[in-house]
Amino acid sequence: MSDLFANLGLGFAVALSLQNLALCFMGCLVGTLIGVLPGVGPIATIAMLLPITFGLDPVGALIMLAGIYYGAQYGGSTTAILVNIPGEATSVVTTLDGHQMARQGRAGIALGIAAIGSFFAGTVATLLIAALGAPLTRLALVFGPAEYFALMVMGLVFAVVLARGSILKAVAMILIGILLASIGTDLETGQDRMTFGFAFLTDGIDFSVLAMGLFGVAEILRNLDQSETRDVVRQRIGRLLPGLTDLRQAAGPVLRGTAIGSILGILPGNGAVLGPFAAYSVEKRLARDPRRFGQGAIEGVAGPESANNAGAQTSFIPLLTLGIPPNAVMALMVGAMTIHGIVPGPGVMTKNPNLFWGMIASMWLGNLMLLVINLPLVGIWVSLLKVPYRLMFPAILMFCAIGIYSINATPTDVMLIGAFGLCGYLLIKFGFEPAPLLLGFVLGRLMEEYLRRALTLSRGDPMVFLERPVSAVLFAVSAVLLVAALMPALRRSRDEVFTEA
């Protein structure tokens, strides 16, 4: 314990130097900015800023880059709430209740609770990394392909749970999501799958392209369509920041979201994407009246947002202690470190204690800065909603187009958001929800990879999923969740049949 304090002391000594504080602030500011811009993700930005960091000392450079990463996570929820565009896979669920809250004139409260929840989660996750970072990595090694497959299946069950309308339609959406994810070059054989001969499909569909189309463009089309009773935020905007009752309502979800997000973030196989979905499902199950979810329930913002930020922090654990980057941004951090002559891996903690503890301390400071940056911004964001929609949507469209173009510098991606936008519009019209599709898409690719890998390693024996204890437990939990989710639907449809008869 005294070690922990000594280490944190060292960390704060490093992070509180004037230069590092300034860099941390810069990172958080840039991160918030790009998070708010739809499409422009932390990957493109960090890659572009890498050369600038050449002149800095490595600790400062990494503090700034880390700031961009979690700053973008913060900012991403802003667009999800305000204009229904999830910038990252992790903010998909925030759109469900967050944007509903905005439509009801409670955008400020949603943004505020997201910021406060994220700050709390960030604080806890930072402490967790500091205290348990090293021992926790053992958890990462327990998870083999079979366990990850089980985890992904559990994630798909969450998608059923968070569906609002017809379960049948939700299942179809999930399947379509996985099918879309399988488009492109097959990982194992290098064969083209379902690309119809289009070169731009060989690398599959980018998440941002799909999300921007299904959520962003489709939302615009739907709003245009109902020009008389337009659904954008027209209600009077109430109080700007959450009040005491809001906070009391959100406290439980924030705590649970933090716990769920922290644990999933530690897994190097990009388990962090599941955090917000898991948190949402848990809140929906625990709620006294689950029907409020999807209609602007504050718990549906507080839980996932906390999980999201906690996962973003703890995903530094596999990077710093194992040298394994759990996602593309972390892979970029590896690059940043190697350029600065620091090779992330088991040795970082002992060889570069300044860097390791300095970064951890800076994460907490960064979270504090984000809270300070974001709370005053809430007012500005909310006032943006007063811009007439006929001017707002061309602007949103242009930001989307530029953002999407900047990911791969391919015009076909821009055309694809149009196509997906049209699909999304039709889906909404026919009563399908796009969220389960997106979740199926995110998990589908990973799920297939893990399934095939697990079966290769077990030489084709599917029993491997039940023989390994962790995987068996995860499957059991999924089964229970699925039955619990299906029961009311089955009962209801039987009731309907009876009442009709």
Partner: protein
């Protein structure tokens, strides 16, 4: 009010036409006049990207214009190289090719729209990153010879990891199997990170990969290294024997990175780029950065356009039969 704005607009227009007029005279000036784009066909943060950024940083300084890295990923790097090969050969678009895109690709990708030996004007070799043979830390064999024997006798019960078709670990791994006669089960990963994770956890038995990716885990003791596939030992891993020392003669591979331009580059432009690359590789800090990663910096005799052209031709000749045979062997 109205007058004022019209006046502003008019003077702005005037300023614009003035600059446009000036431009006509400046064209004959020497290369480079504007930023140069260096296409890196792999994701930012990977070994090739890191080398490209280190080199580009110094080249920007000596050329007096920014060398901007553009990551265009996909299809084992061939997407980016294809796009860059179609750019105008004016020196403002160059690319960082590597062992895969300019050696293994013709054998792996049937519809490849460029020829590594013919579609480019080579500028020069930038760096090499040696290949290391690594295994899970509790693999019983004490040295490389015993390891090869164990892998051979284990047959398909041995699991070999690689980072996807077209990756360095894929082609070098297949070369290893071909040279030793081993027939392990191949387990595919999306990228080196997850493959290493499973290697550390003992889910798979071994793999071959670039030193940059595996050195920290080797020094940290979470995986073990049997040999490094270079003529000399690396300063980063001084305890790891070379393949020759360990008794495997025919396995020396390095994932080299080299700068190419689209075919048809004006001579003076090519010479300038070559000189800038050379200067970067002579620079102490640049060299040290590459060496610290475990990479190798080619000597001045082995990095020029002619030497690179020879390297590309010999690499294509080396990889094609091995990879074709492996592809035919699996259903």
């Amino acid at each position: 009010m109205k007058d004022a704005t019209t006046r502003t607009v008019r003077s702005l227009c005037l300023a614009l036409t003035a600059t446009l007029g000036l431009a006509g005279h400046a064209r004959a000036d020497a290369f480079p006049q504007r930023p140069i784009t260096m296409v890196v066909p792999f994701a930012a943060g990977g070994p090739t990207d890191v080398i490209a950024r280190i080199v580009a940083e110094h080249m920007s300084r000596s050329l007096g214009q920014q060398v901007v890295i553009e990551n265009v990923t996909g299809a084992g790097g061939t997407t980016g190289i294809t796009r860059a090969s179609q750019a105008a050969p004016d020196g403002y678009t160059v690319m960082m090719g590597h062992m895969g895109t300019h050696g293994a690709a013709p054998a792996l990708f049937k519809g490849l729209r460029y020829d590594p030996a013919k579609s480019f004007d080579p500028i020069g070799l930038a760096a090499g990153t040696p290949i290391v043979i690594v295994a899970r830390k509790d693999f019983a064999a004490p040295d490389l010879k015993a390891f090869i024997a164990a892998v051979k006798s284990g047959g398909t019960s041995i699991n070999q990891a690689h980072a996807g078709v077209g990756s360095v670990s894929h082609s070098t791994g297949i070369l290893f199997d071909a040279k030793t006669g081993a027939k392990p089960t191949l387990v595919v990963y999306r990228g080196t990170g997850p493959a290493l994770n499973d290697l550390m956890a003992g889910q798979v038995d071994f793999m071959t990969d670039q030193i940059v990716n595996v050195a920290p885990q080797i020094t940290g003791g979470t995986i073990k290294a049997y040999a490094i596939a270079t003529p000399e030992r690396s300063t980063v891993l001084p305890d790891v024997p070379t393949t020759k020392e360990a008794g495997l003669d025919d396995y020396e591979v390095s994932a080299w990175n080299a700068v190419f331009a689209p075919k048809g580059l004006p001579k003076e432009v090519g010479a300038k780029l070559e000189a800038a690359l050379g200067k970067a590789l002579e620079d102490e800090t640049t060299r040290k950065r590459i060496l610290d990663l475990g990479g190798t910096v080619p000597g001045s005799g082995e990095r020029g356009p002619a030497a690179l052209q020879r390297l590309v031709e010999s690499e294509v000749a080396r990889w094609t039969p091995v990879l074709r045979a492996a592809a035919d062997g699996t259903p």
